[in-house]
């Protein structure tokens, strides 16, 4: 019996790139769910724009990962034909879109993490990655500013918006520490010069978050002990539902040309 699912190999560099590529892919998916449903038309455009940027980053990263993997897997095979277990995004990205406060708070958390990450990747030993990073860093800088503005506006806005923003941060915080967790994949990337260990991004992230939270008159939630393991392929119950939707056409029309 054959299965149409594909499975990338276990090379550390491929895994490092898939973690990042899947993070962009999955967050892009969640943001695209807002399309047509945002509180103001300008945010339909802004969230769509961010989703589109992240999708572009994901495509570049999955393509590069597929090249390095050596099985000639293209971006679509990687995006649509893996089993859940082989998607390597941090769990944070796959949480349902939530309300507008949740969306903006997550965008801030992620963009404040992607910004130093893409900044460092501009110096990647892999010239392809360095080139991708040069473009991405500009995009993510805008994402970070945009999310920061909303977190400040909602955090120091009405009573309701403050409550919602606090709830959003409380919901999100337990998923943050995964963004800075280290392992051998990470260590190998640092050693080879492919990219930084995620743990090294923490000081920049802390500084960026603290600045925005202070401006928003919000208190930083307490850290929690559980570390999610999406980057190892262990996801939340939300991931399967999301993939059922995302993969539905590729699964139902094998051999299709789109």
């Amino acid at each position: 019996m054959t299965t149409p699912s594909i499975q990338p190999g276990t090379r550390a560099d491929v895994r490092y790139l898939l973690r990042l590529g899947d993070a962009c892919l999955v967050l892009s998916h969640r943001l695209s769910e807002w399309c047509g449903h945002a509180p103001i038309l300008e945010e339909d455009l802004a969230l769509g724009n961010i989703a589109l940027d992240l999708l572009g980053q994901a495509r570049a990263l999955l393509t590069r990962a597929g090249q390095l993997d050596g099985q000639a897997l293209d971006e679509d095979q990687l995006a649509f034909l893996r089993e859940e277990r082989h998607y390597l995004n941090p769990v944070l990205m796959e949480l349902p879109r939530g309300d507008f406060a949740f969306t903006q708070a997550r965008n801030l958390i992620v963009a404040s993490w992607l910004l130093p990450l893409w900044t460092r990747l501009q110096d990647s030993a892999d010239a392809e990655i360095a080139a991708i990073a040069a473009k991405a860093v500009k995009e993510v800088r805008y994402h970070q500013q945009h999310a920061a503005e909303w977190v400040v506006r909602l955090g120091d806005g009405s009573e309701e918006s403050t409550r919602r923003m606090k709830d959003a941060l409380a919901q999100l915080w337990p998923y943050v520490n995964e963004l800075f967790a280290s392992d051998d994949v990470d260590a190998a990337a640092e050693a080879s010069g492919l990219g930084p260990a995620w743990s090294s991004l923490k000081p920049a992230w802390d500084a960026a978050m603290d600045e925005v939270l202070a401006e928003a008159r919000l208190t930083r939630p307490k850290d929690t002990p559980h570390v999610y393991a999406g980057r190892l392929g262990v996801h939340s119950e939300h991931m399967g539902h999301m993939l059922a939707t995302m993969q539905s056409l590729q699964r139902a029309y094998p051999g299709g040309v789109w």
């Binding site: 449903h37 509180p39 339909d44 769509g48 040309v257 789109w258």
Partner: protein, 311 residues
């Protein structure tokens, strides 16, 4: 009266009327109705296409669709701005939409049921929209005409993308994909023809609009142009348009086509299409669910304003 004559003669000379110019109240009202209806169509039109973003079959198609739907939001934005130059606020226009006083294009009351619908909407629906809109690039009201130039450029891009995606499936796809395309064309063909509005004999308001250059061709003229342009595209695709009466009339040098089901047309315009309720509810829900966000933005601005002044 004098102002009215001056206005009419500017129209006759093909001048653009600008926001600060004097204009007759009826002209203003007609324009606000038409532009806001067009703007509403853009934002309601995001819904049927948005329905497929999360299920797009490749990343390239997902990016194209996401960008397209975003463009539609952008069109909504320019059009609301153009209408605002006539003294009606976006909130007023949205309120008219949400309370059912304002209309939007009936075509968006049909559902997108398969991925092929996305291509077909690009090909036929955007195609029909362009046919309707190109003449408006020469419309007498400057801000509207300028918005339409940009919109038409983007719409033809969308139309080509839609057609290209269908061509890919019809040329290189599986049998199941080809059947999907044919099925989508079967469902969208007649509603697309209805996009040009009622037959000329049932469209009494057109004359004044033609006079003002807000409208430049009649419904039936536009519909015929659309049919004539679309038939060869369908042949190239290899799909059959679902009309046994469709054939070239050498005498007229146009295609004849079958009778449109005007009962369906009026039923959908009257609020009883397959998705009228859902589309409006989706917009109202987005607006209501977002009320706290808009309130918070105002509250924040008020809080921070004194700081800014003190600084």
């Amino acid at each position: 009266r004098q102002r009215n004559e001056a206005f009419e003669s500017r129209i006759d000379e093909g001048d653009f009327i600008e926001a600060k110019d004097w204009m007759p109240e009826h002209y203003r009202k007609t324009l606000v109705r038409q532009i806001s209806q067009h703007a509403h169509s853009e934002i309601v039109g995001m819904l049927p296409e948005g329905n497929w973003i999360t299920r797009a079959p490749t990343l390239k198609r997902k990016a194209i669709l996401l960008a397209k739907v975003q463009d539609e939001g952008g069109h909504g934005l320019y059009l609301y701005s153009a209408a605002e130059t006539l003294g009606t606020s976006r909130d007023q226009m949205l309120d008219a939409l949400h309370t059912g006083k304002a209309k939007y294009s009936s075509i968006f009351n049909y559902p997108t049921l398969t991925w092929a619908d996305i291509g077909v909407v690009g090909w036929l629906v955007d195609g029909a929209a362009i046919m309707n809109q190109v003449p408006l690039c020469r419309c007498s009201y400057g801000p509207y005409a300028r918005a339409m130039i940009r919109i038409c450029r983007e719409e033809s891009f969308h139309q080509r993308q839609g057609y290209e995606s269908l061509l890919t499936m019809m040329r290189d796809g599986t049998d199941a994909q080809k059947a999907m395309v044919q099925d989508a064309v079967n469902r969208w063909w007649w509603p697309s023809l209805m996009m040009f509005g009622p037959a000329d004999k049932d469209s009494p308001n057109s004359e004044q609009s033609m006079r003002w250059g807000i409208k430049r061709l009649t419904n039936d003229e536009l519909r015929q142009k659309f049919v004539d342009a679309t038939v060869p595209q369908a042949e190239l695709l290899g799909i059959t348009l679902p009309d046994p009466d469709l054939k070239w009339n050498a005498e007229r040098e146009h295609h004849d086509f079958g009778a449109i089901d005007w009962n369906e047309f009026w039923r959908v315009v009257g609020g009883n299409g397959p998705c009228n309720t859902e589309r409006l509810q989706a917009r109202v829900k987005a607006w209501d669910d977002g009320a706290w966000v808009r309130d918070a933005a105002l509250a924040h601005a008020r809080k921070r304003a004194p700081e800014a002044r003190a600084a």
